[in-house]
């Protein structure tokens, strides 16, 4: 096994992620995985990998990497500057690198997270079925933590591309400063009355307390219905759950959480979670209510869109 890259600068928070660790939530192990599944899958496809291989999830400010072996790389997701030896190579397209090349990923100008894929996918030990980093439990990824200067990462074997790949412009998402999040009511519908009008009627701001566990929002308070207790018996949580703590400011739960003890007024639909994860502090989110049938329609559309992209190459 040969190393693929050496970390010169780690960036703000760069971790190895794949499609997530499914099946261990009952033991307190959250699913983890890439927060923006669309960009994650496209990054892999751009270098000729199956869509679920392990990549680097870059947060706001990217890393600088020294290349140790020939490979194709691609960065997809947030808009940021990607350079090889100082020359811009752009996002949403593959580029060939050779040993000694230095790849630098800059600061996001739109969006929050980008995915850097390598031929074959990054090779770290599989822990409980996944290579995803879960820093809270110190498992997965490289030694269960985010990257540091000096780290070396290996890649699984894979064939170099016969010709470079690029995602057509029309298929590239933009990352606006205001996103709509569609959500279904529940699980604790009966804990709220006026709260629904607030949540589905008022815009919310993303606060700096936004990470892989969840996004704290700020805006019109979401009150509990009169007589409802401030907490519930702890129950499992799903990514997308909109939890209302005693300060009445919503928290949208993400992928590093397994249980919670506050009532959840609504759950953001799966296809919109990646868009939330691409917002940064100060961005606006607007919730829109959909029923479960509509949510399942959106889910099927998102899967179909993702398959269309797999068929491009």
């Amino acid at each position: 096994m040969t190393a693929a890259v050496r970390v010169v600068r780690p960036g703000a928070y760069t971790t190895v992620q794949d499609g997530g660790r499914v099946g261990f939530q009952h033991l307190g192990v959250p699913v983890s995985g890439a927060l923006d599944p669309f960009a994650f899958r496209v990054a892999n496809l751009l270098v000729g990998n199956p869509p679920g291989r392990a990549v680097l999830e870059v947060t706001i400010l990217g890393p600088e990497l020294e290349v140790l072996a020939p490979a194709d790389l691609a960065v997809a997701g947030a808009q940021l500057d990607v350079r090889v030896n100082g020359e811009g190579v752009g996002c949403w397209r593959s580029f060939r690198v050779a040993p000694g090349d230095v790849v630098s990923v800059g600061q996001a100008t739109a969006g929050c997270r980008a995915y850097l894929a390598v031929t074959g996918g990054f090779d770290v030990p599989v822990v409980m079925g996944s290579r995803s980093t879960y820093a809270g439990g110190a498992i997965g990824g490289l030694n269960g933590r985010s990257l540091r200067a000096g780290d070396e990462l290996a890649a699984l074997p894979g064939a170099l591309l016969a010709r470079p790949r690029e995602l057509p412009d029309r298929l590239r998402p933009d990352y606006p400063g205001e996103v709509g999040l569609r959500a279904v009511r529940g699980p604790q519908d009966e804990f709220f009355d006026e709260g629904f009008r607030r949540l589905f009627g008022e815009p919310y701001l993303v606060t700096p307390k936004a990470d892989r566990m969840g996004y704290r929002l700020q805006g019109a308070p979401v009150p509990l219905a009169p007589g409802r207790p401030r907490s519930i018996v702890s129950e499992p949580s799903m990514p997308g759950g909109v939890q209302i703590p005693p300060d009445e400011q919503p928290i949208v739960l993400l992928v590093e959480q397994t249980v919670g003890g506050y009532a959840k007024i609504a759950t953001v639909v799966t296809p919109d979670l990646g868009r939330l994860a691409q917002t940064t502090p100060g961005d606006r989110v607007v919730f829109e209510e959909v029923d479960l049938d509509a949510a399942h329609g959106l889910y099927r559309e998102a899967v179909a869109r993702s398959r269309t992209i797999e068929d491009l190459w």
Partner: protein
């Protein structure tokens, strides 16, 4: 406070486009939790089409599913039908796991507070805490964190007002009527009364976990020497 009720049939809640919660009672109660775990066992043994994951907690069961394969309505029907066959699938026999704990001192910085709050000597707190057989109601928060029911009312103590930013792995704590163990270093607001040298979660072991929801835990008081020795030999 009224006694928790066991629901005659599951009550369902929508947890987004991939999750369905089945609730079996309105509070923390051994019989409610037994139903939850029995249903989890049935669902794992005979998973309806499209089921991805089954997560039992105190009184509710989360069933995650693939919306391309099934829907909430179909899943409800399937779960209801399995409920009628609960008796056919045995619930795994609970194991009793002994957890050695060094109480007090640097290992349990809040032991004194718990003792003072209840007008007890520290030794009494230890004797009461280690003298009870606890049921694991659920595992969550961090990998392997057991939420234990059955804490003696003489030890019920509120959480810290300001949680600690880093509770050492192995710390044994109390939060109101619950007791539990932090398997990995994490933030936490429970009152810490001791620490175990065992690694409760070790992804390098064949079975990374020492217990499952439904098992029982008994704490065994040990001294500092034993703590160091067991720490070195810990599995």
């Amino acid at each position: 406070m009224p006694e928790p009720r066991v629901f005659p049939r599951a009550r369902y809640r929508i947890a987004g486009d991939r999750g369905l919660l089945a609730e079996y009672g309105d509070g923390i109660d051994p019989e409610v939790n037994r139903r939850v775990r029995a249903m989890a066992a049935v669902l794992r043994a005979r998973p309806p089409a499209g089921v991805v994951e089954v997560v039992p907690t105190y009184r509710s069961l989360l069933v995650t599913y693939d919306p391309l394969e099934t829907g909430a309505g179909r899943l409800r029907e399937a779960i209801d039908a399995l409920e009628d066959r609960l008796g056919e699938i045995p619930v795994p026999e609970p194991r009793t796991v002994e957890i050695p704990v060094c109480y007090g001192g640097a290992y349990g910085p809040d032991l004194g507070f718990v003792a003072e709050t209840h007008d007890l000597a520290e030794e009494d707190v230890v004797a009461i805490h280690a003298g009870t057989l606890y049921q694991i109601y659920m595992i969550g928060f961090t990998p392997g964190f057991p939420f234990l029911g059955g804490l003696d009312p003489r030890l019920h103590t509120p959480r810290l007002d300001t949680p600690r930013t880093a509770v050492p792995a192995g710390s044994v704590g109390i939060a109101n009527d619950q007791t539990g163990i932090y398997p990995v270093t994490s933030p936490g607001g429970w009152r810490l009364i001791g620490r175990t040298p065992l690694k409760l979660f070790d992804p390098a072991r064949a079975d990374p976990f020492l217990y499952r929801a439904g098992d029982r835990i008994r704490f065994v008081a040990i001294g500092e020497d034993a703590f160091r020795r067991l720490g070195e030999d810990a599995p």
